[in-house]
């Protein structure tokens, strides 16, 4: 059944895709094998999962300032998430999404987004409207 989630106004284009969800954080620098498009840090809850063309749903962003370049670098090579939803984003990843023109939203009205959306669900992210729709 379709469910509409309200969030803060986000960044980037409207996208639809399959959700990949974990109650964990996200560092582009330390969690990913960016060449092969998989989560590579063994301790990460999504270790071994491919993130290519998925919409990631995670708690918050971690990692240093350098990661601001990385979403752009990933997008240019075409092995990239379609978008990322956080409970709370950090400044660096938002700046990175702005450069990469990637969909990113945070601050959901219904609470912890990582427990509301399930992996495998198809979701539509509309950053300008501050809205995420679970389509199935």
């Amino acid at each position: 059944m379709m469910k509409v989630l309200k969030c803060h106004k986000g960044i980037g284009p409207k996208v639809t895709g399959e959700a990949l969800v974990a109650d964990d954080n996200f560092s582009t620098r330390y969690d990913l094998d960016r060449i092969n498009g998989v989560f590579s840090r063994p301790q990460h809850k999504l270790a071994g999962e491919s993130y290519d063309q998925k919409i990631l749903v995670l708690n918050t962003a971690k990692g240093g300032v350098a990661s601001a370049w990385m979403l752009h670098e990933m997008t240019a090579r075409g092995i990239t998430p379609k978008g990322i939803l956080f409970n709370e984003a950090n400044t660096i990843l938002v700046q990175g999404a702005a450069l990469a023109n990637m969909a990113m939203c945070d601050r959901f009205e219904d609470g912890d987004v990582t427990s509301i959306i399930k992996s495998g669900q198809i979701i539509e992210v509309d950053p300008a409207a501050g809205e995420v729709i679970i389509l199935d």
């Binding site: 240093g64 300032v65 601001a68 700046q95």
Partner: protein, 408 residues
Amino acid sequence: MQLNDEEKAMLNGEFGTAKQWAIDHQIKVGEFFDAPDMVTVSQAHMMADPESVGEAGVNFMESIANDGGRVVIPMITDPRGVDLNHYRPLGQTEEMANTERRFIAACEAIGIMMTNTCVNYQTIMPPLLGDHVAYGDTGVVIYSNSVCGARSNFEGGPSALAAGLTGRTPRYGLHLDQKRRATRRFQIKTQPAELTDWGVLGAVIGRMAGSYWEVPVVEGIETVPTSDEIKHFGAAMASYGSTPLFHIVGITPEAPNLAAVKGAKLPVTKIADHDLAELRSNFGAKGEKPDVIVFAAPQLSIVEMGEVSSLVDGQKLKVPMIVCTSPQTYGDARRMGFVDKIESAGGVVLEGTCFYQQGAKEIGEANGWVRLLSNSAKIVNILGGYGYKPALASMKDCVAAAINGKIV
């Protein structure tokens, strides 16, 4: 966001496409964080190592340069990923060096000063109390905010570039008074004795604070630290906690007392000796042979360069030792004979780089380095993710390990 006439003209493309990209980028970020308007900044500082920038980032910088993008405020750079005078011996590739060369050429065309330092607050132009700036590198931001009383968010490379091109940044986060108030209150008892102790204390507090939006206030520091000590404290706190600002009561400029940072009613978290010991226990390796000793993160000041050179003077190192410093400090250290002493002992001094931004994974693989020893609580935190088994010891004990071939 409220834009003035000049900003609207930038957005309309009246100052060219580079500035149009920059202000558009800033509006997107500003609206995400509910910035009411833009604030003018006096300096920008950009982090951009080849590993994170990639081919796409270099192409982007070249397009900004070709579109006529020129900075309108002093804009400086964080360490490079390649010391172009010393990269083949480390196992860094020609491809990496070429990425670096292209990136530098683009920056120079844009009018960026290649200072290549993460200790600009010690060597270039420290910002003043209340000075709004757009700085990259978490260590630079936390020092400038906390010790200098300047105002900066963590500005990633693209956002720092945008600030350099427009001379402003969105007014959100640490540009606002209310975001600079203490949210966590820590009391310490055991006084840090040397650089690594300061790093460990910063790391413990950072890990407990744990978020960009938390502001720790620290009570109980009895002696005013040196710039190098508080540099290690802040760099480690930012690395472990994504923390961009701290206050130390009676020491940092915004916290003459607890009330000034609205900290008096916050619950107290005491930092116990076992908290410090627990952090260190992740990085102990007594008796083992280190593969490489690294002094970096942050780059060494001239005082630290003098200390390392005194410790190695006349010795022969059994273990490779890498020392990273800023180009500004390098010139002085060379002139004062510090570099010669380190090189004569068998160490390497890199100019304008910082080890973890140099493709540390590839360097480790090329040289077979796994057990890395450093006095930096920051670098041992980072390099665990890059295939190393990092260990932590004081500068003196690091040098002793380099001389004896064994961690003491």
